[in-house]
Structure formats: structure tokens, C-alpha cells
């Protein structure tokens, strides 16, 4: 019994990481209807940036985030205004193909720069620290990851609904032409949205790098986890994204409990089951 509760708790906490993968994806889809195939590779890029920063300056990965986040944000803004804005439109192929191209470029650039050897961010004692709750042992790092995920999502929710920036995001998402009439330059607004999304991706990348080892080829898998969390939770609902991440995480830990080879597969199957019974996700945004 306690074993299964443990599985459940681990799954929920793992879901926090997946929600972080998903949050950026969800944000840019919400604002500009863009699905970024390179999203997973950008997470891995952030992990490598974190790695280089820790090595170069000899700092803790959390301190490295102070550099990685703004760099990722700048990459996002430049990418959006330089390339991705030109792909937006009714046709889905240009953004898909261009981000696919980016994915191949990022993967191979990382391969060229860092080789295919697995790497890991070393965060010291926190990696193994844990607290006991009753007879459960909960790792501090997963707990912290989950808390960060909740904070990030709460922050995004607040930004979206209570700030001028968020108002601009919603307006551009509703009607680009009319938003432009109100003095919003959509190219800039999209750039800001991508900057914010990649800053979140930066957080996700560093936490991923501390938690597990990574290599240039694993971006695609992270994209899929994020995507599954978004769809399970329901498009356009940012708290739903957290719920989606948690469901995915729990499905994976249950799968792993049955057979270690089943971890990822169980997550995919959970996703397909949700798709079969609730094609709009579990918590779709209510239409007014």
C-alpha cells in the first residue's frame, strides 16, 4: 500500500517537471497558435547552456539560471522576430517545417559542440536530500521542482490575466488586426511571448539537467511529454497543463512500477486513452 502511495507521490512530483515542459508550449500556442517542434531541443539547449555556465564560472546550476534564463529569452525574441513571425498564417506547414528544421539544426549543433556523451548538472547535496513524511521519503529536488512549476504557472496565470502585457497577449490572440489598431505591434508581442516561453523553458532545462542525464538527441521526447501534458489538460487552460503534467507523471511512475521498460509507454497510453474518451482534454477552457 505505502509503496503505491509512494509511486503516486513521485508521479505527481514528476508531473511538475512535465508541466514546466508544457507551460512554454501552451503559452505560445495560446498567443500565436504556433506549435514549436524545436521546443524539446530548446529545453536541452538550456540544459547545455546551464552546463557551460556552471563549468565556466564554477557556479551552482541555480545560479547559472540567472544567466541562462535571460539568454534563452533573448534567443526566443530574436528567433520569433527573425524567423518564426514569417511562418505564421493559416497554413500549418511553414511553422511546422521551420521548427523541424530548427530542431535538426539545434540537435546537430549541440552534437558538434558537446558530443553525444551524456552530461549532467551537478547540484550538490540537494540532489540526494529528502524529507520524511510519515513513512514516505520525498526527495527535496522533486519537491522543489514541483513547487517551482506551481509558482511558474501561477505567475503565468497572473501575468496573463492581471497585467498590461497579459492583456496584450490575450488581445493579439483574440484578433491580431484589431489589436494592431490599438497600437500593439504584433511582431513585438509575439517576440515577447516567445521570450517568456523560452525563459520558462530555461527553468525546465536546468531542472531536467539536475534530475537526469541528457544528451543532444533527447529533445524530441521532451517535446512529446510537454505536448501530452497540454492535450491531457485541455488546450488554453494553463492550470489544466499542470494537471496534465501530473497525470502524465503518475501514469509513467505507475508504468515503471509494473515494469521499468514501461515507464514512457504508460504515459503515451494514458495520453491516447484521454484522446479517445475526451478529445478536448480533461479541463478544456470554457467557451463564453
Amino acid at each position: 500500500m505505502i509503496e503505491w502511495i509512494n509511486v503516486l507521490v513521485q508521479g505527481v512530483l514528476l508531473g511538475g517537471l512535465y508541466a514546466l515542459f508544457a507551460a512554454g508550449l501552451s503559452l505560445i500556442f495560446g498567443v500565436m497558435r504556433l506549435v514549436n517542434i524545436a521546443h524539446g531541443d530548446l529545453i536541452i539547449l538550456a540544459a547545455y547552456l546551464g552546463l557551460s555556465t556552471t563549468i565556466m564560472f564554477g557556479v551552482h546550476p541555480f545560479a547559472a539560471a540567472l544567466l541562462v534564463l535571460p539568454v534563452m529569452a533573448i534567443i526566443g525574441y530574436v528567433l520569433q522576430r527573425g524567423i518564426l513571425n514569417q511562418t505564421l498564417g493559416p497554413d500549418i506547414l511553414p511553422p511546422l517545417l521551420v521548427t523541424f528544421g530548427l530542431s535538426v539544426i539545434i540537435q546537430n549543433a549541440l552534437l558538434e559542440g558537446y558530443s553525444a556523451d551524456p552530461q549532467k548538472l551537478s547540484a550538490g547535496a540537494i540532489e540526494t536530500a529528502s524529507v520524511n513524511v510519515g513513512s514516505l521519503t520525498i526527495g527535496i529536488l522533486p519537491l522543489l521542482t514541483f513547487a517551482i512549476a506551481v509558482a511558474v504557472i501561477a505567475g503565468l496565470q497572473w501575468m496573463f490575466y492581471s497585467t498590461a502585457l497579459g492583456r496584450g497577449f490575450r488581445a493579439v490572440s483574440d484578433n491580431q488586426d484589431i489589436a494592431q489598431l490599438m497600437g500593439l505591434n504584433k511582431a513585438h508581442v509575439f517576440g515577447l511571448a516567445m521570450a517568456l516561453a523560452l525563459a520558462v523553458t530555461g527553468i525546465a532545462g536546468i531542472l531536467l539537467g539536475i534530475r537526469t542525464s541528457f544528451d543532444p538527441s533527447i529533445g524530441g521526447g521532451r517535446l512529446i511529454f510537454g505536448f501530452e501534458a497540454v492535450i491531457i489538460g485541455g488546450l488554453g487552460n494553463i492550470w489544466g497543463t499542470l494537471a496534465g503534467g501530473v497525470i502524465l507523471g503518475v501514469a509513467q511512475t505507475i508504468g515503471a512500477k509494473i515494469d521499468p521498460g514501461w515507464q514512457v509507454l504508460a504515459g503515451h497510453i494514458a495520453f491516447l486513452v484521454v484522446l479517445a474518451i475526451r478529445p478536448n482534454g480533461l479541463f478544456p477552457r470554457v467557451q463564453h
Binding site: A164, R167, A179, L181, M182, G183, L184, H288
Partner: protein
Amino acid sequence: MSDPILSLSKLNAYYGDFQALYGVDMDIHAGEVVAIIGANGAGKSTLMRSISGLMSNASDQVRFKGEAIGSLRADEVAYRGLALVPEGRQLFPSLSVEENLMLGGKVGRAGPWSLDTVFELFPVLQERRKQASTSLSGGQQQMVAIGRALMANPEVILFDEISLGLAPVIIKTIYDALPGIIGGGMTALVVEQDISKALEVSSRVFCLQEGRVSLAGATHDVTRDQITAAYFGVVA
């Protein structure tokens, strides 16, 4: 006469291969209220899109206070003091009434219009400020759309078919509010398919037919027959 505040010279507009406007010339002076009428497809909305920057044209075909703005983006035009109340209201559904209005004020131009003065003009909006804009009636939505454009404190305001899809009694309410808006010296272009309403508020009228100006003159000079001829292209 002083220089026009808004001036169109030989304005051509295209959608791909299709030419929607053919060499439209128009001078609008500060403080004027000008009506633009014409049948469906005559090019009225294209004209509004061209002036407001939603459609890009040759730079010097549209001039605002002497500056060539024909090729500027809509947001750049908005900052210069030109606002559009779009056809069909087009409020932002994810924004509340108040947020819609606040976004209108984003360009931050100084002037008489603020949340308070807009609520004074349309008191019903104050009661509903926190509501989703989609929960309002058509007439109330139109008030938000007008208020949103006013919040920019524009020098020239364009009204595109503001009576569209509204019941006659509501249209009357909206038009009754117009003098309070443009009485303050604001320049206005009123596009309407409700011809009599347009003529009522305007001092000059342009009629468009198939992308060309088919009639132009002072409102009190043009006759109903002239309008019918210019509007339909045939004498009824």
C-alpha cells in the same frame, strides 16, 4: 482653407490580383464629419483598412497631417492619432469591458477621453465593466467599440458601419451620443449603409461605387436622386 488633416491621393488598393480601390482622392479637414456611403463591395471597408494601416499602400497615397502614412503598420498609425471603430464591433472576447477600453488607451495620447469620461458617455458600461465583453448586447458592444477607439484620444476617428446588425432603437441611442463625441472638434469619417443616418450627422458626403468615388459634395447640396444614381450605378 487650411491644409487637410487627412488626405488621400490616387489611392489604389489590392487584394492579390483584385483591385478594390481605383485612384480615390479625398481631402478631410480638421473638425469635419464626412459620410462615406456605397453599396456592398463598393470599397468602403477597404478604404477604412487603407487609412488605418490594416492594409499597406504606397506611402504617399495616404497623408495624415502632412506625413505620408500609407505604408505604416496599423499600430504606428494608431500612435499618430487615428482610431477606427471596426465593422462588426470586434471586441476582444477574452477581455472584460474595462480591459477592452484600457487597451484602447494603450497608445497613451493625452486628451479628454478616459475610462471616467467614456463611462459618463455610456453609463451602462460602468455597471458592466467587469463583465466579459461577449456577454453584452449588440448595442452595448458597439458602445464598448466606440469607447475603445475614443480612449486613444484620436484626432481623426473612423466609424465603420456602426449601425450594422443593431435594432433601430439602439442605432438611435448610438447616434444620439455622436454629437457628444464629435462635438468636441474631433474629425470623423462615418461609413454607413444606413444612408439617412450618415447624412444626418455629416457635413460632406462621398459615395463609392466599384472602388471609385461616384459622388462628392456637401450633404445639404446632394439630392436623393443623385445619391441613388451614385449608389446603385443606375437611376432608380
